[in-house]
Each structure stands twice: as structure tokens, then as C-alpha cells.
């Protein structure tokens, strides 16, 4: 019996997965905070306790994400692009295009069902379209981030945003609030604007179906619906979409064990 860890230190949230020979034995998510090293330790401890294992039982650890280089106990560091492809292919092998909605960036990648990456693209500085805007708006509206999806589905009269620029979207949202629009209508409008940005990024790379959405932002059903509407086809969302990179990292860890054997 061997055990491997996949740890994904994101700019906002950090995630970890522990795998045994038979599959996942546990997963954990927490805020990344200011000290990535400490966060990584905390995730490892939590995963070990969930699986009732000790540090010595772990054969290999792969780290990924924005702060991966600070996971000092990792055996290998992999880019999140490769981990995402691995993770999403393991759960949804029909997926050819995966869209990851992260805090800093939205990433789109093309894969082949085996977890190989063919190409990828990251959202640019100006184009915006990352998950951060949702967090900002949640704070402004005083709702929890995980509630905004449900809330936006209630919208009857979506606010149309004039700009797709993330910086201006924020100020525009705030100025709309002063015009007393309903929270759900504002959120639905924001989802629409964000979905348009995401779609434009995906189109820049080229989209092959099936398409999946992963990452923290894929937990927002309002955003998923907006992307579906714009693209006009179904979007697959794996269970625990925010864990996909960590899962992929763990799968890569396990694969390299097999190769070493």
C-alpha cells in the first residue's frame, strides 16, 4: 500500500488530496493566508489525520499552484496546467477543453483524455475574467461567496454591464448598487460579463468539446449557467471542481511511483 499527496497552493485558497492505491482517502481546503509554507504543512497534517497515516507513509508529494515553490516537502513541483489536465481527464475522460476559474487567472487548456496537455492560455492582465471579481462583489454585497451562484439564479432582470474590464466592472457594480438594483440582478449581470470574458479567452485558444469547468469559480452555479448560455452547449463540472489541480498533482505523484517501480 502506498500513499501520495497532491497539494495545490493557490493565491487565495489552498487544497490537498491524499490518494491510496484504491483512490482518494481525503481532501482538505483552507485559505492560503500569508504564509504558504505553513499552509502546506497544515494541509499535510490534515490529510494525514483524515487518512490516519504518518509522514513516513507518504511515498511521494507533488505540489502545484501559485505558491507551489514554497511547499518545501514536495518531491516535485508541477505546473497547475498539467495537474488540471491530469485531474480532469481522470474524472471526465471525454473532456477536450477545460476551463479553470481561479482567483488570479482563468486558464483554458486543451487535453486528449489521457491527461496530456496540448495547449493552454491564461487570462491577460487587462481582459480580466478571473474569479477575484466575484469575491470582491460578494464582499461589497455582504453575501457569502458560495451563496452568489444560487442568488443570481433568482434574477429576473439582469443588469447589463457596459464594460468587460475587471477594474471598471468593479466600480461599475458599486455605482449600480447606489442606483438600488437588486443584488441578484447585479450578480446575474456580473456572471454574464465574466462568462463573456471566459468565453472570449476560450475562443482564443480554440474550443473542442466536451468542455469542463473546474477550479473554485466552477462551484458558482450562476457562472456555470452564464457560460452555458453564451456557449450554447453543456458544460461538464466534476464533483469538487476546486480540488482538480490537487487531485491531478496526486495522480502525477502516483504515476511517477509506478514508473520508478
Amino acid at each position: 500500500m502506498s500513499f501520495v499527496l497532491g497539494i495545490d497552493i493557490g493565491s487565495a485558497q489552498s487544497k490537498g488530496v491524499i490518494l491510496g492505491d484504491q483512490g482518494s482517502l481525503g481532501s482538505f481546503e483552507c485559505a492560503s493566508g500569508g504564509d504558504f509554507k505553513l499552509t502546506a504543512e497544515k494541509i499535510r497534517e490534515e490529510l494525514l489525520s483524515q487518512a490516519e497515516r504518518s509522514v513516513d507513509d507518504i511515498s511521494r508529494t507533488v505540489a502545484t499552484g501559485y505558491g507551489s515553490k514554497l511547499v518545501i516537502f514536495a518531491d516535485e513541483i508541477k505546473s497547475d496546467i498539467v495537474c488540471l489536465a491530469k485531474g480532469v481527464s481522470s474524472l471526465l475522460p471525454s473532456v477536450r477543453t477545460a476551463i479553470d476559474i481561479g482567483d488570479l487567472y482563468t486558464k483554458v487548456l486543451r487535453t486528449d483524455g489521457h491527461g496530456n496537455v496540448h495547449s493552454f492560455i491564461l487570462s491577460g492582465k487587462c481582459a480580466g475574467g478571473s474569479g477575484r471579481i466575484l469575491q470582491v462583489i460578494a464582499r461589497v454585497l455582504q453575501v457569502k461567496v458560495d451563496e452568489i451562484g444560487e442568488l443570481s439564479l433568482k434574477s429576473k432582470k439582469r443588469v447589463e454591464f457596459n464594460t468587460g474590464c475587471a477594474v471598471f466592472a468593479e466600480t461599475e457594480a458599486i455605482s449600480r448598487l447606489s442606483q438600488e438594483v437588486a443584488k441578484e440582478d447585479l450578480l446575474a449581470g456580473l456572471h454574464r460579463a465574466l462568462a463573456a470574458q471566459i468565453n472570449s479567452l476560450a475562443e482564443r485558444l480554440g474550443v473542442e468539446q466536451d468542455v469542463a469547468m473546474v477550479g473554485g469559480g466552477a462551484r458558482d452555479i450562476g457562472l456555470i449557467r452564464a457560460v452555458k448560455e453564451i456557449r450554447g452547449h453543456d458544460i461538464l463540472v466534476p464533483p469538487h471542481p476546486h480540488m482538480i489541480a490537487a487531485l491531478g498533482a496526486a495522480l502525477i505523484a502516483r504515476e511517477s511511483l509506478t514508473i520508478q517501480d
Binding site: 481582459a127 457596459n162 468587460g164 466600480t171 453564451i230
Partner: protein, 386 residues
């Protein structure tokens, strides 16, 4: 606001709000519309070919959702919007598109346009960057090539007579625009800046004869008003590139100012300079578009040898308009990423200073969403000069 609804021609509003409405109708009757961007495309040649020039517009109300797939976000937001609407199919009723060398972004995105849009005719008109005698000779030839490409497209020769006729009717249009501008000279002006910009913008979506009729109608309507619609307020001059939406002007007027003159592309830059008649038509067009259309894109040599003399030459039209229309203050409105205008900001500031004309310089993106932020600055400026 309420009265405005009843005084500005409903047709204008309709054409402004449903931009391209008439073109779609006429396309059904077999007319061919050729889209263009920028003040530097010689429209008379398009008219002479039997096609109808159509100024392609952006929209400050619509976020860019497809354009970014093919065009960098470092392009000025105005041009990005124009491109975005075009690739979204808003102008699919056009038969062709002409893009001039108005700025680097127009040059560098020409392939994105010509490969990405479903028009059967595309042409790039190269505009000299300098104004030497040899530049005019070159431009004559370049306009000759433009004419030839349209002849190839329509299958019909463009004769000197066609060109003369087109020049005549476009000059008529400019006379009418001049007459509309004359209505702004009184205090308060008889026509608001918002109305005027809407009218001119609507006009650039119509066949030139229909545009002439529309302007006549607006002229008659405004002259027939019992009371001047705008109220007295600071008289504002707007300096900048293409403002093919009324948001900024409306903002100034809502805050109590009156926009009385401008240099904007879809205002004075497009409409006021006339083409000389009597000589060779192509040469006359070359003189108008290169010599008379005053765009920062064209380098005009410093003949004075002093900075003061140079700016007086380069921006003399601003001073003339400002005096003629008795401006109390000016707003220099520049889009982010616009190199031709951007690099002139210090010199333009100095020129306004030399005129003793208070100036508000605004850098903006092309979006109605930013008007809230501009409001406070415009308001403070109006209070300062008012």
C-alpha cells in the same frame, strides 16, 4: 430631457439608436454599403463608385466579448469596440470595408479584419505621414489605386464626372453641417451638442443625399423653435478623436454646460473641411484629406522655428473655432492607448494656455460605465469656469 424628446427629429433618434437601419433597408433594394473607419477615407470616391459610404461605429454600452479573441487589449478601446461589434456581425449588411492608415492599430489589425469578416470588398488606403509635395503626389496615386479597386469591385468605371458630382454633393453636406454649427453661435446655442452629435452620427449611416435631407429637416426644425432649447451655461469646446456616442457631451450638458464646438472626428474633423472644385478631382481629394483634415496622425513640419509658432500652426483651427464659437473652456478627451493624440497632450495643453482657455484633460476608456467617474471632474470644471 422631456422637451428634447419632442424637438429633435424622431428620425434622427431612430437612426442614431438603430444604427444601420436605413442601410439594411436599402440593401434589400440592391444598394451596396461600404463601411469605413476614421476621417481619412475619401468618401467621395465611394459615392462616385455608386456605393454608399457608412461610418462604422462602436458602442459604449456593449462590453467587448468577441473582439478580444483576435485583437489585443492594448488597442485603444474605441477601435476595439468597433472591431468587436463588427466581428459580432452587427455590420454584416455591409458589402465591403475600407480602412485607412489612421494609426498603427488600423494597420496592424487589417488582416484580422479582412480575414475575419464576411465582406467581399476590402481595401487599405495608405495615408502619408508627412505633408511634402511628394506626399501629395504619392497620395494622388494611392487614391487612384483606391478608385481602381472600387471599379474592379463594382465592374463600373468611375469617371471624372462621377467624382465631380460626388464632390459636389459631399460639399453640400458640409455646407449643411456648417449651417448646423452656426446655430451654436448664439448664447445659449439654438441646438445642443447632444442633438448635433446625434444628427451627424445618424447622417454618417445614410446615403449622402438622404443625409442632406435629414440635415435640412433638423435645420428647419431647430430654426422653427420658439425658445432656444439649451439654457445659458459655460460654452464648452470638445477636443479629441472619435466620439460617436453622446455620453460625454450629454454629461456636460446635463451638468449645465453647452457644447458649442469641437475637433472630434465625427464632428468638425469629418465634416467641416471642403473639397476644392474646378481642378482635377483626385488631386482635390488628396489636398482635402491629407492637407485639410487636421489629425495628429499627420506630421506637420515646424515651419516657425519656435514652439509657440509651431503649436499656433498645428492647432490653429482650435483657436479659430474657439473664438468663432466663443468657448469658455475646453475638454481634451483622449482614449487610453491612443498614440497620435496621446503624444500631443503637453503641446495641446500649452496651446490652450496660450489661448487663455481653461482646459480639462480626460483620459478615458470607451464605456458608458465610466461616466459616473467623469461626472465629478466635469462638474468641478464647469463650476470653476462658470
Amino acid at each position: 430631457m422631456g422637451d428634447k424628446q419632442s424637438t429633435i427629429s424622431d428620425i434622427v433618434k431612430n437612426y442614431y439608436n438603430n444604427y444601420g437601419l436605413r442601410a439594411k433597408e436599402l440593401k434589400g433594394e440592391g444598394k451596396q454599403f461600404i463601411g469605413y473607419v476614421c476621417s481619412l477615407v475619401p468618401l467621395e470616391i465611394i459615392t462616385a463608385s455608386g456605393c454608399i459610404p457608412f461610418r462604422v461605429r462602436g458602442s459604449v454600452y456593449e462590453p467587448i466579448t468577441r473582439g478580444d479573441t483576435l485583437l489585443e487589449t492594448i488597442v485603444c478601446p474605441y477601435y476595439r469596440s468597433v472591431f468587436d461589434l463588427s466581428v459580432k456581425g452587427k455590420y454584416d449588411f455591409l458589402s465591403g470595408m475600407v480602412i485607412p492608415h489612421g494609426c498603427d492599430s488600423m494597420v496592424r489589425s487589417f488582416s484580422a479584419w479582412s480575414y475575419g469578416l464576411p465582406f467581399s470588398y476590402f481595401h487599405f488606403v495608405n495615408i502619408p505621414s508627412v505633408c511634402d509635395e511628394s506626399s501629395f503626389e504619392f497620395f494622388d496615386s494611392e487614391l487612384g489605386a483606391f478608385k481602381k479597386s472600387l471599379e474592379k469591385f463594382t465592374g463600373k468605371a468611375i469617371t471624372e464626372e462621377h467624382l465631380r458630382q460626388a464632390i459636389r454633393v459631399h460639399n453640400e453636406n458640409r455646407d449643411k453641417v456648417r449651417a448646423l454649427y452656426e446655430l451654436r453661435k448664439t448664447d445659449p446655442p439654438l441646438i445642443s451638442g447632444t442633438e448635433l452629435t446625434m444628427t451627424l452620427t445618424a447622417g454618417s449611416s445614410l446615403p449622402i443625399e438622404e443625409s442632406n435631407d435629414l440635415f435640412d429637416q433638423v435645420l428647419t426644425g431647430v430654426k422653427g423653435r420658439k425658445n432656444s432649447l439649451p439654457q445659458k451655461g459655460p460654452r464648452i469646446f470638445i477636443d479629441g478623436a472619435c466620439l460617436d456616442n453622446i455620453e460625454l457631451i450629454k454629461l456636460v450638458e446635463e451638468l449645465g454646460g453647452n457644447v458649442v464646438a469641437d475637433t472630434i472626428c465625427n464632428g468638425a474633423r469629418d465634416h467641416l473641411p471642403k473639397t476644392d472644385v474646378g481642378g482635377d478631382s483626385i488631386e482635390a481629394l488628396s489636398r482635402r484629406y491629407l492637407g485639410k483634415v487636421n489629425c495628429p496622425k499627420t506630421y506637420r513640419a515646424n515651419k516657425a522655428g519656435t514652439f509657440e509658432g509651431d503649436i499656433a500652426n498645428r492647432f490653429g483651427d482650435i483657436g479659430t473655432y474657439a473664438r468663432e464659437f466663443k468657448a469658455d473652456g475646453a475638454i481634451l478627451y483622449v482614449y487610453k492607448y491612443c498614440d497620435p493624440f496621446g503624444f500631443e497632450v503637453p503641446a495641446r495643453k500649452a496651446y490652450y494656455h496660450s489661448l487663455n482657455l481653461p482646459l480639462l484633460h480626460l483620459e478615458d476608456i470607451y464605456s458608458a460605465g465610466t461616466m459616473g467617474q467623469l461626472r465629478t471632474r466635469v462638474q468641478a470644471f464647469l463650476e470653476m469656469i462658470g
